[in-house]
Symmetry: C2
Subunit: 375 residues, 2 copies
């Protein structure tokens, strides 16, 4: 029995020899064994997960692999961003080697973005590259981090500065897993869904404006929204796998967002990644208006939708004291998307009309930030 | 002034978009700046090297980069195999990030195989992949480890179990650097030179039998031997970049060799890698004779040449107590080239007629080893 018989949606990421399927559907974790056995016959597996996710899904996945005759071992890491570190990487690498897995075997990432980024990195470097299956359990991971092959860890100098492009062999997005998320986590993931509309899918954004309630409540629109997000990302990744050009579009809202995350010291009580992206997208639209690229109506429209779903849209929405414009500028300059001193931003000419601007004058950014938060 | 005007030999590694040049010639370290500036204009550099090599060559390389206007930083690691470790990897990664290098900038590996393997890994993972230049200073690195993109570190479970395929953008093999090697180091590197003849270049092996004295004394044959070795390796790597087939031929002598290195606990006073490979190649030919694949004359011929240059050819040549056949078998089974329980060996039908044998019965290997060293 293959996964498709359950009415899953299949999205292909077209990367030549490295192409792979994303399956989106209800209960895919419990059907993972069959889906994997059908595509990757004879493999053994190491499941990398975290303590929180393990409680919800690990036994289901183990049973499913068991049922398909896939020998496996579980590697359970502490939950949280700190797991994207060199010590956790070394620990997970040792555990995979301990299980005597070989190059053709698989590492399965069961969890959110942290687990996926770390497990993908592990898979990319053990024996110079094992195969890799993503089983994303958060909305953010299902629509963003599990697709496209970016893996990595953080260092003292910043987030995601160390890692690899290592494409998965298969992504299994179980929409049932989203029921275990808090409302805040789901909302944060939704920011990345809305992002695809804002980048280059104006019809999708309009559809979200009309259907977001069904997406949030778990109706059929939810699966559709995830599938459309995966299609949007797959299309951009297929055009520019290694981010030498267009893929930077996926960073819409992220330069501002990362600066805000840095400014709160990555304190998730104050701001999680998706919330930073939501504020960042609102800022990117407002900034584009200031530069006379987009109409103020577009910035208002974006802010209205993000607010409607409960996402923050202004720096002042972040609880606690925030630094002024000059300090925020420091965070922006430190961001890895800075190339040779010129600032690269994703700007927009309106909803669904984003573009990569490679020479934004830092003085313009600073003046804009001063307008938002004072000097 | 480009490097070629000095009569360097150029060997191309043909890997499509990842193709690169190997330049082989006298004084290439002092001309590195010009060679890099000509091919990779505008880059900045981090030089990764070790304490021993830094004493001989670091100032020369720095002056050369300086002269070409290439901003650079030096990262000097302790010498020795222990540097191929997670802590050294993290240290070097942090140092490259500290220097604020970007994705288009380069990491230069100045040193032998340890430095090249580590620095290449660093380049492969900082910002998900920086460019990478090899400046190999040992014979082993010039003819083997600097070519083909294998990078990695060791873990408690074994050597090179963690790493990446990350091709350099340029290899600069300065034959003058070989004058700083000890006779023993040079000889050990020569084992890999002879290997290319034994794999699939019988004429090259015959040429080495006639010209090895000039190779060792530093005459023009030395540069020729290095170039021919690079050509041989480049050809195999171009056929099978990720070692899914033919590239395994490069492991001729290595399965036995690794087992012997393991058996002495990687004590380089007793056995260095190239010596292990020399004994391993002699064993592979003797084993092929035992399996009635090759004539005993070939095994004798190989042993005679390796002995002539001063390399060991028998397990008994290793100083100190060695384990028996059963214990050596354990080391072989632990080796990463074991796939699904079947033993993969590089066997031969004679000089220059090696092939990948994927299903060698362990009992045959054990019986052969018992013949060599007792039970």
């Amino acid at each position: 029995m293959t996964a498709q018989t359950h009415g899953d949606i299949r999205v292909e990421v077209g990367l030549g020899a490295r192409s792979y399927d994303i399956l989106i559907g209800e209960g895919l974790i419990t059907r993972a064994g069959a889906a994997i056995a059908a595509r990757l016959p004879g493999v053994r597996a190491a499941i990398v997960t975290d303590e929180n996710v393990a409680g919800h899904h690990l036994d289901l996945l183990r049973d499913s692999l068991e049922g398909a005759g896939i020998a496996h071992t579980g590697i359970v890491l502490p939950a949280g961003e700190k797991t994207k570190s060199f010590p956790a990487l070394e620990h997970a690498v040792d555990a995979v080697l301990e299980a005597r897995l070989e190059r053709g075997d698989i590492v399965i990432a069961l969890g959110g973005g942290v687990v996926g980024d770390l497990a993908g990195f592990v898979a990319g470097i053990v024996r110079r590259g094992m195969r890799f299956v993503q089983a994303p359990t958060s909305l953010l991971a299902q629509v963003d981090s599990s697709v496209g092959g970016k893996t990595g860890i953080n260092t003292a100098r910043g987030k995601n500065l160390v890692g690899l492009f290592h494409q998965p062999a298969l992504v299994l997005a179980d929409t049932a897993a989203l029921d275990t998320l808090s409302a805040r986590e789901f909302r944060a993931g939704y920011a990345e869904v809305a992002k695809y509309g804002l980048i280059d899918r104006p019809d999708f954004f309009a559809w979200l404006e009309n259907n977001w309630r069904d997406v949030f409540s778990g109706g059929p629109s939810r699966t559709q929204a995830i599938a459309e997000s995966c299609r949007a990302k797959a299309e951009i990744v297929a055009r520019d796998e290694y981010e030498t050009g267009d893929r930077a579009l996926l960073n819409l809202g992220h330069t501002f967002g990362h600066a805000l995350e840095g400014a709160v010291g990555y304190d998730s009580a104050r701001l999680v990644h998706g919330e930073g992206v939501a504020i960042g997208m609102a800022l990117a639209h407002r900034f584009s208006t200031r530069l006379n690229l987009a109409s103020p109506d577009d910035a208002v429209r974006v802010e209205t939708h993000l607010k409607a779903v409960g996402l923050p849209t202004r720096i002042a929405d972040i609880p606690g004291e925030m630094p002024g414009a000059t300090r925020l500028m420091d965070y922006i300059v430190q961001d890895k998307k800075v190339s040779r001193g010129a600032l690269t931003f994703i700007l927009t000419r309106g909803v669904g009309r984003s573009f990569v601007a490679r020479d934004v004058p830092p003085s313009e950014v600073l003046a804009f930030l001063e307008q938002q938060v004072g000097p």
